[in-house]
Subunit: 350 residues, 2 copies
Amino acid sequence: MKRKVTLKQIARELDVSISTVSKALRNSKEISEDTIQKVQAFAKLYNYRPNNIALSLKNRKTKTIGVIIPEIVHHFFSKVIRGVELYANNKGYNVIVGLSNESFDKEVINMEMLANGSIDGFILSISKETLKKQDYHHFNESINQGMPIVMFDRVVSEINCDKVVVDDVLGSKNAVAKLIQNGCKSIAILTTNDYVSVGKLRTQGYLEALEEHGILPNGNLILKVDDNRLSEEHFDALEKEIKQLFINNKQIDGVFAVNELYAITAIKVARSLGLNIPENIQVIGFTDGVLSKHSTPSLTTVSQHEQVIGEKAAELLIQRLEDDEADDETEEHYQTLVIATELVERNSTK
Amino acid sequence: MKRKVTLKQIARELDVSISTVSKALRNSKEISEDTIQKVQAFAKLYNYRPNNIALSLKNRKTKTIGVIIPEIVHHFFSKVIRGVELYANNKGYNVIVGLSNESFDKEVINMEMLANGSIDGFILSISKETLKKQDYHHFNESINQGMPIVMFDRVVSEINCDKVVVDDVLGSKNAVAKLIQNGCKSIAILTTNDYVSVGKLRTQGYLEALEEHGILPNGNLILKVDDNRLSEEHFDALEKEIKQLFINNKQIDGVFAVNELYAITAIKVARSLGLNIPENIQVIGFTDGVLSKHSTPSLTTVSQHEQVIGEKAAELLIQRLEDDEADDETEEHYQTLVIATELVERNSTK
DNA sequence: ATTCTTAACGAAAACGTTTTCGTGTTAACA
DNA sequence: TGTTAACACGAAAACGTTTTCGTTAAGAAT
């Protein structure tokens, strides 16, 4: 097990100074052709690579970006990460991942762990608990200390930073409009509690579409699912709630769900009640993941271009990092990028 | 935007030396109670946190582990990462993620990027291209330079390191045995090309189960799907191949698929041919993901406890890192952990 | 013979820590 | 009064780089 070779060792072997070695490796013209050759040959032989940590310390930047997400076992987030990784790697940046697990405390701890020099900036999506508490001090602290943040998807207007979001309102509005065009008269929405910003916005889009087509919203058709840790076993509760919705409102002929799981659950419940998709009920879900593509019938969805979200977030962050480098304190102007959605038509609509 | 405060600044403000500040913060008894109070109060006021990079440089370790996986938009891998993150964070380690995207070159580049001081060790699953090329020099290089590796799932016997694998053979064998017990006489297997180690092992389990129950394997019932970038659009080809299989072998009454996607595709194709699941054909898939749980009928699967795999991999790596620290060059003994699988019975079997 | 350039290199500082090894002051002791 | 021990602190090295600013020697110019 040979240790990694350093400038000092090369210098000692070749009987020159550390400075000379460093300069020779960077082809400085201060150094004679001879020694350059000698040093570079030796370096190649011993497979010299500059130590990243030493460089980070010297340059006061790590070329690493921290990504904090609520959950990684989730298509939306993992696709975003893929986009971040792709762009960041191309620019020579590494990506370090922290999971908040939807918990405020873990979000804070994770950010603190990374903020002390390990990374140059954050890309993050806020945990549900943080949204509920509305305690955003850790974001502001980070920004005040000169560590930029780019938020995506679950963002919050109180914080001044770059953001990348999906056009939740328009995407939902278009989806619901599609249902209306397809002949639906009584459209239900399956959504989350309001503190989840995207749930709120998607509900807003739903309402706007109804209004634009002269349909009066019916409170009974708006099902706000309690999603405290729904991911695992509160799944049964979800089925029951939807079943009740269908039973109490037999006129329903269209369903708009704010996520994939709600959508396919709606399909499953509808079928168990003897209803056919899309003949009796048409369904559209927000978010286009594996479930949508492979369910039967396959699901018409609002696709969010998750990878683009990740790429754009990385682009915004890196751009800001490298601008800061050039001239201090110039544009304190933050932008919010809106990524357009796309309706992917499959077999759950006519 | 106030810069992060350093020891030097505290020292200057309080008119003591850097050493004193450092010692005071660590409650050294070299320092008087008075100055300790003073320093700690000041540090708290300015929210002092030691710079991780400086510590990494000094201690020659980063408390960060690198995870290289072929693909993150994949339940198996993202669940493993969750396990790694969980364990690592508890031990005060960070996790940095690199995606090989199933490419040999990206795997090498990513590892080189991280190996130069950024991390203390690797946890990785080998890319398909690397497996095909059988070029493992980068793994050996890393290990020789004192950077330990823990491989999981897609491992290779040529490399001497800790490993965490699933009992692919036994898991498959049990699954197929289950089909046989349930009355299946003619069981097909949907598998991958042999260079993917797990595909090979799962096929082996299939064959062992048949043999143990005195059933002669039939080459026609073994479908090796060409999975070069199947993930996206070669999906149609998959359906066609399976359809042909069913048409050419009408006696098939059981299907064992080496992954979730193959399994639900088999179900879809079977139904399109007018066959009922599980009445006419029973299906079991390896890997228990979202698709299995939410497909109709829901899929009986071999669950792999992905999160445990991640936790164990992290445990092995961190243990080795901290052992190395204590006494150099002791146990060069590598272990391979086998995580038991579990058959999750749902509605695709009788 | 003296001064000036230039080429080729080295010393040292800096990034932010921790730690070892002094060193000076005071108090106690003989 | 002189010696010692304890106490409280500081200087400096080390981790591995890069970069600024000397410094030396040789050759050119005067």
